[in-house]
């Protein structure tokens, strides 16, 4: 189906098969998100992209666009919920921005800034999540994991390796690697894998490489994430298949 819908009063055109969020990003309208990545099938778990479609809440990254929809996104009510979702993620893990190599390139941090997160608001859970430094080239710092499953999808769909998966349930849900020992070194993970570059936060890091770009000059230091909608424009399906 092609056609248009209105997003916060603005007319948005969409192509066949596009979701509400893809159409918005293609039109240059930023939509907060963490588990979405233009090269992968929509997932719909972080819920940052929640909008109101014809008055009803919906996950815009998985909702197919339909002509004539009336969509609200950038409203005080919705952004209020998005802010709380970021705060929930911040207290669920252990996030220390000042000492994090991803600071300035981290989507969670960037969204925190644009959504006006001034404090974590909730009481920290302080989970115990040991790091995995077993791999010669890569480091896994699970403290920062937001369970977006991008590394899982990249490893399965692009690298064809299935290095990552989820185990546990609810608050005990956690990332695991494909090895009986539970150590990354015992998987076939490589620094050149697609899965090594998709983490929106700072879980999957290259060893012996830090501060190559100084703080202050990083992606979201230069311009807030909500002014960089073009970075997340959907890529043509053919490219997606090939990737």
């Amino acid at each position: 189906m092609t056609g248009t819908f209105t997003l916060d009063g603005r007319e948005i055109a969409f192509e066949p098969g596009q979701t509400v969020m893809q159409a918005a990003l293609a039109a240059g309208v930023f939509v907060p998100h963490l588990c979405y990545h233009p090269e992968f099938r929509p997932h719909g778990s972080c819920k940052l992209c929640t909008m109101k479609i014809n008055g009803r809440p919906a996950t815009s990254c998985t909702m197919p666009a339909v002509a004539g929809m009336e969509v609200e996104s950038d409203t005080a009510e919705i952004n209020d919920k998005r802010r709380m979702l970021v705060q929930m993620l911040l207290v669920e893990g252990n996030h220390f921005c000042p000492s994090c190599e991803m600071s300035g390139n981290c989507k969670l941090q960037a969204l925190g800034y644009t959504l006006g997160v001034m404090t974590p608001h909730f009481t920290h859970f302080f989970p115990d999540r040991p790091v995995d430094a077993s791999h010669p080239e890569m480091l896994l710092d699970f403290n920062r994991c937001i369970l977006c499953e991008l590394c899982i999808r990249a490893s399965a769909e692009v690298d064809k390796k299935n290095v990552f998966a989820l185990s546990g349930r609810g608050m005990k849900k956690h990332l695991v690697v494909n090895a009986e020992s539970g150590r990354l070194a015992d998987t076939d993970f490589a620094a050149t894998d697609k899965a090594a570059e998709v983490c929106p936060v700072g879980v999957i890091l290259k060893k012996r490489r830090g501060f190559a770009v100084p703080i202050g000059k990083r992606t979201y230091d230069i311009k807030p994430i909500n002014e960089q909608a073009e970075r997340f424009k959907p890529v043509a399906p053919t490219v997606r298949e090939k990737a």
């Binding site: 929509p42 719909g44 778990s45 972080c46 819920k47 940052l48 929640t50 809440p57 996950t59 998985t62 197919p64 919920k81 709380m84 979702l85 929930m88 993620l89 207290v91 669920e92 909730f122 009481t123 859970f125 937001i146 369970l147 399965a156 299935n162 290095v163 990552f164 998966a165 989820l166 185990s167 546990g168 349930r169 609810g170 608050m171 005990k172 849900k173 695991v176 690697v177 494909n178 090895a179 009986e180 020992s181 539970g182």
Partner: protein, 620 residues
């Protein structure tokens, strides 16, 4: 030890054709032999089914009844629904732990036994209940606790424990068309097949089924579908979707294969009517599934039985075997060429969220029970991506009656908008807990009177995800147009603390959230923590406001019904029983969540002290 393991796993894998979609059954059977799922066991199973090891570990780690850590030769799980708590399950569990010298949730030093809690096991009318190595035990008493501790210490196998402990009563208190029916196996099916004579040549649907190889002469399927539509039967699992429309959508979905799935993952705390239906009317349920298969053109059906009802697995398989002998399942059912259908029982492993139909399908496929993104819906893309009808146990039983007696007959029972009868699982503060079958439209007050309730303060209808009804609403009716319900009916008298009821439900949802989406994974835990803070005497008005805020995020952004409904019990009780909260508030100002005295708990435990001087006195 090792070679034995390898042989056992090989046999189990072979029995399931080394098929990954059968992973749940493979994991369960392996665990029943080996006691737990050790890392090398998971590796072997992953190799066997040809799945990535991490994916198998992911499934094993999702379900409460699979363990990737040793939990002892005796695993005792106390049902922890509010109805169990009201009759002292916590004291009994503590007593058992004391006798066995262990702490709840921890394996004993000698690796023999662990004792913990689990979500409602569906024995609310005969609690306090527990699972001993996943076998249901009812009516626990201090005497039984003492005896059980002794049996465990003497290492007597659970199979040799007193048979009386495993007795599960049906407690049918009021029967109507479903529970009173005395149909012989096959009667509804024969009636359904006979309808083809009456049916005329309308309907493109029949042309489709003909093209797809369903019996060419069959006008019957659309005739049966018409009766189900006419009956206005609506789903009994809670959501109330019209069954005939669901079946028709599935029948019309283009595909070479279709599936019928019976949702017997009766996980809603306080609900146990499916257990009784499967005990007393299993034939009717299977017959309803077969009618559905006939109507939509399915060849294979699954009954997804919750892990807590493991003890029903063998009896249900016996019923299925008998039905095959009677020519009511298999190929050419009742001598009808092309009418091929069989049913298999699939056992769950302790995950409430699998009651959600798309999570149930994921689980049927051997995966983590996470609800899917929709659309597409199961009727077009369900089990293995094929059109699938998922209905509740009670819905299928009712469908069998409709096939036999006709849609008009059924529609005449109940109210205008809610046809037929509804089974209620009544528990809590009543003289006669058990199963009550009523035509739709019965008032809450009538049910209370029949069950012998006195001084009733509130009724939780349809479980934690349902609605809390206060005494000024007892004139309301059980019906889709007033109070819809999946069947739970938990009664609380004036001595009960409604705050503790809500707190129990908040703990339940935090435990059962699948963790897929941020709002539910974190939000249910935040709600539980807020309720604990208030319950422990540290709450303020601020925390009540927080409950509202977090609830709004859940209601707006959660992925599935679990997250949307998790705040209900809190919001309901805040509205109707606010004094139960307010009398616990410490002050009307902010109070930090960090509990100084609580932080000393570890030090107290290490020094073995719990006297007054070991506590910080937070003097006013």
């Amino acid at each position: 030890m090792f070679p034995t393991n390898a042989v056992d796993i090989g046999d189990i894998l072979d029995r399931h054709g080394r098929d990954g979609t059968r992973l749940m059954q493979i994991l369960r059977e392996t665990q029943e032999v080996l006691g737990w799922l050790a890392p090398e066991t998971i590796t072997a199973i992953a190799k066997g089914v040809g799945w990535p090891r991490a994916k198998v570990e992911g499934t094993a780690g999702f379900y409460s009844f699979f363990h990737t850590q040793p939990m002892g030769r005796y695993r005792i799980l106390w049902s922890d629904n509010i109805t169990d708590r009201m009759i002292g399950n916590r004291d009994l569990m503590q007593a058992l732990c004391r006798k066995l010298w262990l702490e709840p949730g921890r394996l004993s030093e000698d690796g023999l036994v662990s004792v913990d809690t689990t979500s409602c096991t569906g024995m609310c009318d005969q609690g306090p209940a527990l699972l001993a190595n996943y076998r249901a035990i009812t009516r626990m008493t201090p005497e039984r606790v003492a005896q059980m501790a002794e049996l465990i210490q003497k290492q007597v196998p659970v199979a040799e424990w007193p048979a009386e402990w495993f007795r599960v009563d049906d407690n049918i208190r009021r029967a109507d068309i479903l529970l009173n029916n005395a149909m012989r196996p096959g009667e509804a099916l024969k009636a359904a097949l006979a309808r083809e004579a009456e049916a005329d040549q309308e309907s493109a649907a029949n042309a489709r089924s003909w093209r797809e190889g369903v019996n060419a002469a069959t006008q019957g399927p659309s005739a049966v579908l018409e009766e189900v539509k006419k009956s206005n039967l609506r789903g009994r699992g809670g959501a109330g979707f019209t069954t005939g429309i669901k079946w028709e959508a599935c029948r019309h979905a283009p595909s070479d294969e279709r599936y019928v799935v019976c949702n017997a993952d009766e996980g809603e705390p306080g609900t146990f009517k499916d257990r009784v239906l499967l005990t007393r009317q299993a034939d009717l349920v299977f017959e309803g599934m077969t009618v559905a298969a006939y109507a939509i053109g399915a060849k294979k059906g699954y009954l997804y039985l919750r892990g807590e009802y493991r003890y029903l697995l063998d009896p249900l398989n016996d019923v299925l075997a008998r039905r095959r002998d009677l020519d009511l399942l298999g190929t050419g059912i009742l001598g009808r060429p092309g009418f091929n259908f069989d049913i298999e029982v699939h056992l769950g492993a302790g995950a409430y969220v699998c009651g959600e139909e798309s999570a149930l399908i994921e689980s049927l496929e051997g995966k983590r029970g996470v609800p899917r993104n929709r659309p597409p819906y199961p009727v077009t893309s369900g089990f293995l991506g094929k059109p699938t009808v998922v209905n509740n146990v009670e819905t299928f039983a009712a469908a069998a009656l409709i096939a036999a007696e006709g849609g008009d007959w059924y529609r005449g029972i109940g109210t205008a908008k809610s046809a037929g009868t509804k089974l209620l699982s009544v528990s809590g503060d009543v003289a006669r807990p058990g199963i009550y079958e009523y035509p739709f439209g019965v008032t809450v007050a009538e049910v209370l009177a029949d069950a012998g309730a006195a001084e009733t303060q509130a009724v939780q209808v349809s479980g934690p995800s349902g609605v809390c009804v206060a005494d000024n609403e007892f004139g309301r009716r059980i019906a889709f147009e007033d109070i819809p319900t999946a069947g739970a009916f938990m009664v609380f008298d004036r001595n009960r603390d409604m705050f503790e009821v809500a707190r129990n439900f908040a703990q339940f949802f935090a435990h059962e959230s699948c963790g897929f989406c941020t709002p539910c994974r974190v939000g249910t835990t935040l709600l539980r923590n807020l309720m604990d803070k208030i319950g422990n005497g540290h709450g303020t008005q601020y925390d009540i406001n927080e409950i509202y805020q977090v609830s709004r995020v859940l209601q707006m952004a959660a992925h599935c019904g679990l997250g949307h409904t998790a705040p209900h019990p809190l919001l309901d009780t805040l509205e109707k029983f606010r004094p139960a909260y307010e009398r616990r508030l410490k002050s009307l100002d902010f109070e930090p969540a960090f509990d100084l005295d609580g932080a000393l708990a570890q030090a107290r435990q290490m020094t073995g002290r719990d006297d007054l001087a070991a506590h910080l006195e937070n003097a006013e």
